[in-house]
Structures are given as C-alpha cells and as structure tokens.
C-alpha cells in the first residue's frame, strides 16, 4: 500500500475542499492508499474514516503539499474548486481521481449528531434557524458586505426566522441586532454541529459556504441545506457554487469583472504591510463597499431566503 501524508496550511474553507479529494482518492483506488494529513484546522478531519495515523519519518511514508493550480484557469475553464486538489494529485501522482460528490467530506460522531445542537443548548429548546456570517477575515476585505445590509435582512425576518450570528474572534464581524449572538463562542467542531442543525446559511464566500454543502444532513431532512452566498464579482460562480446554493454574483455585469472574477483582495489598503494591499477593488461606493457587493440588495437576499421557508 502507498502511504501518503497530504499537507496544506491554507484557510479552513480550502481544507474542507481537500477532504473531498481524499474521499475521492479512496473511492477511485480502494485499498491502494493509506492516507494521513498535516493541515491547519485539524478539527475538520475528526472522525474521518479515510485517515490512518502515519509518521512522516517512517520508512515508506511520503508527503506532498497539496496545491490547486487549476485556480489560475478558473475564470475560463469549466471546473469547480472541488476539482482543484484532485487535478493536482492526478498530475503529481499519476492518478485519475474524479469527483464523486459535489461537496466536501465532513464527519460528525454519533454523539455529536445526537447531542442537542448549540442553539438548543443556548435556548433550551430546538428551533429552526439560519446561520449568518456578517463579515470575515481582514485579509480579503473585498468580500465584505455592509453591516446595515446584513441587519436589514435580519430585520425583514423578525419574528419569523431566527438568525444565529457566528464569526471568529479577532475577525471583522460587526454585531447584529435581533440575532442569537454566537460570535467568538464556537469552536470549529461547535460550528460543524451548528451547521448540521441549521436550515440554511447566509454568508459571503467563506468557510461556511463550503460547510453548508460538506456537513451531512440530519436524518429526515430531504432538501439540501440552503445557502445564500453574497459573492459580488471576485470569484466565478462555477468555481465556488454548490448544488442548491444561491450564489449572488455580478460576473459579466461590471467592467471590473466583465469576463470572470477579479480576484482582488481588498476594498482599500489596510497599510499593514501585506502585499494584499496591492490588489485593490476597482470601484468602491460611497457606502464603503465594492460596487459589485453594492449591487446585491437586502431585498434580493430576503426574497431568496423566503423561497426556502
């Protein structure tokens, strides 16, 4: 058997996508590989049956840093992010791995599935809810929508739908009113449990969008987990969008994303010494957000969520 350790130290969303590649590697070559990983966010691999503990120094164990160079063709080639790691492994290891499912591969233990979800724990009773991610990291600020717009969506559903706000401490997640505020209060495993029990997710292009697809559905749920993604013009829809997701984008609608995603990083410079300051939005509105993000209105988002209720 071939023993491989797959490495990747990118953001959690990328790691979720890598889980799909490991799943499909084993499906394409059952019994041929023993696989382990060295990645950021190890919580994403808990209970994953495709992993076998491997010592990097042991004889016969090889390791490879996983990239996805396919991203450089993403504006023109008909591929999803899911293909990215697989194509790289195919090239590097001479394989023919193909996606078998249109989602990442996240596992929950039986105990995690049976326990009351974080919302039920917080409120003392089970309630249907959507997760809302009203911000993000400071590296790609261009993905942010405006705080008041997120709030307008929440206000639209006041009394009809519970939103649970999440976000990592230290990232930009301005507080919303009339939500269950779990910002900075969830570990990655808590977040996975939160997604497991959620009816839907409202977010920019971020980890939660990948989790919406990758986290299994609870027993009895027949419909896909809803997800409305406010994407703007940074990334091509076909590269990011999962089945059943509403991906609100502006590719082709503005000069700056006329033929594909602009892949810029920031709305304005943060002057933090990062090279990301060199890839700036081409058009910022007086409201402080990119024109492409400005084109998506709270009313549009609310209408889409209404479809799922």
């Amino acid at each position: 058997m071939e023993k491989w350790i797959f490495e990747n130290w990118l953001s959690p969303g990328d790691i979720v996508v890598l889980t799909a590649a490991i799943r499909d590697l084993h499906r394409a070559y059952p019994g041929r590989f023993l696989t382990d990983v060295r990645t950021s966010c190890p919580a994403l691999w808990e209970h994953n049956p495709h992993l076998t503990p491997l010592n990097k120094e042991a004889r016969g164990v090889r390791s490879i840093v996983c990239h996805y160079p396919l991203i450089h063709q993403c504006n023109t080639a008909p591929y999803h992010f899911i293909h990215g790691f697989m194509e790289y492994l195919n090239d590097q290891l001479g394989l023919r791995v193909r996606p078998t499912e249109f989602k990442g591969d996240i596992y929950l233990s039986r105990e995690e599935k049976q326990r009351p979800g974080p919302v039920e724990e917080a409120l003392g009773e089970p309630r249907p809810y959507w997760i809302i991610v009203a911000g993000g990291k400071y590296d790609y600020t261009i993905k942010w929508w405006h705080r008041r717009r997120w709030q307008a969506v929440v206000d639209h559903f006041k009394g009809k739908l519970l939103f649970v706000q999440v976000g990592e401490k230290g990232h930009y997640h301005p507080p919303l009113k009339n939500v269950l505020d779990l910002r900075g209060k969830t570990t990655l495993r808590d977040l996975i449990r939160l997604v497991y029990c959620a009816d839907g997710i409202l977010c920019p292009v971020t980890l939660h969008m990948h989790l919406a697809a990758a986290v299994p559905l609870p027993p009895g749920r027949k419909r896909l987990r809803s997800c409305v993604v406010i994407a703007g013009g940074r990334e091509p829809a076909h590269w990011e969008q999962y089945p059943g997701h509403q991906f609100l984008h502006t590719i082709g609608a503005l000069d700056c994303c006329r033929t594909g995603g602009c892949w810029k990083s920031r709305t304005v410079p943060l002057n933090d010494g990062s090279k990301l300051d060199e890839a700036l939005c081409a058009e910022v509105t007086p409201g402080g957000i990119p024109r492409c993000m400005d084109m998506t209105t709270p009313a549009q988002v609310s209408d889409l969520i209404e479809r799922f209720l």
């Binding site: 130290w9 996805y68 600020t141 810029k264 304005v268 943060l270 060199e278």
Partner: protein
C-alpha cells in the same frame, strides 16, 4: 486563496486612494472636549473607560474619538429634545431639534460607511435614548500566512504521558482515527 497571476497589474485607482486617505479623522475635525461649552455628561465611554485623551496620536484612538464625538453630538441633541418636550416647547422648536437629531444620525451612518472598508466600527450601548458606551473593536493585523495549528504534527510520546504528570486542566483527546492531541 487567489490566483497567483493577476491578469492586470493591480493599481490603486483614484477612487481607492480617495477612500484610503479618508480613513482617518479629517483635518477639520475638532475634539468637542476642547470646546468651552463641552458637556461632560453627554460624552460616552469608550470600551467602558473615559476614552483616549485629547490630542491622541494613535490612529485607532483618533478614530475612536471621531466616533465618540459623533455620539456625543447625538446625546447632546437628544438631551435638548427631551428637555424641550418636558418644557412644552413649541412644535416648531421640537421639529427643529428632531431634524437635527436625524441629521446627526445620518452623520453617524456616513462615518460608519467611511470606515467600513477597513472594518473599524463602534457598537453603541444605550441607556434610554442616550449612547452611554461605545465598544470598539481594534482590528487585528491580518495573518497573511495562517498560523499553523494541527493536532497532526507528531508530538512524540504525547499519548504515553501519565495523566498525573500533566499540569493544569489538560485534556488529552484521542480521535477515532488514532490521532492524539492536547
């Protein structure tokens, strides 16, 4: 992640530069605490404390002062409005004050918009109609290279340490797939 090759060389266009230069208090900003008629009771707290001193040079503190000043103005006007209503002032006077409050609220929203691209925001905490405390979040410097945090980096012998030798609240986690982590 983003493609390494950007089709067009990214440049800061005029709009970006214009916005970037606005991300500090404007030159004509005057700290209301320096005015002779300053009303200390209307000055909100800053993260539960009295707030940065007048003339602070730190950019974050200067931004905080700009927000505090905007909420101070709202408090001042709300107090005037409350007093006018209690005194039974004329409808014209009350309407004039309501318009001023509205204008001050629009000003706060514009201030928020100005700083929105860098993620600077002050969350007001209210008591009645008054803004008593503003909670600011100091943006952390972004980690361009994400911190490594993996239970899968081998820690030799971690699983063999007797629990009695671990100090403090340490929980050793044994994942089903065999990984061991603190």
């Amino acid at each position: 992640m983003r493609p390494l090759v950007i089709r067009k060389k990214p440049v800061a266009n005029r709009k970006n530069v214009a916005v970037a230069t606005q991300l500090k208090p404007p030159p004509n900003f005057r700290d209301p605490r320096l005015r002779h008629n300053f009303d200390p009771a209307a000055w909100p707290l800053c993260n539960g404390s009295p707030g940065p001193p007048c003339g602070a040079s730190d950019l974050h503190e200067r931004r905080c002062i700009e927000f505090l000043a905007a909420y101070y103005e709202l408090n001042r006007l709300n107090r005037q409005l409350l007093a006018a209503r209690q005194r039974g002032s004329t409808e014209q006077r009350i309407r004039s004050l309501v318009l001023k409050v509205n204008k001050a609220m629009v000003f706060v929203e514009k201030l928020e918009d100005r700083y929105a691209p860098v993620g600077f925001f002050g969350e007001p905490m209210m008591k009645g109609v008054f803004y008593r405390d503003i909670a600011f979040i100091r943006p952390a410097l972004p980690l361009v290279y994400p911190a490594l945090q993996s239970s899968h980096i081998a820690i030799p012998g971690l699983g063999d340490i007797p629990p009695g030798e671990l100090r403090g609240k340490v929980k050793i986690r044994r994942f089903r797939h065999g990984k061991v982590d603190l």
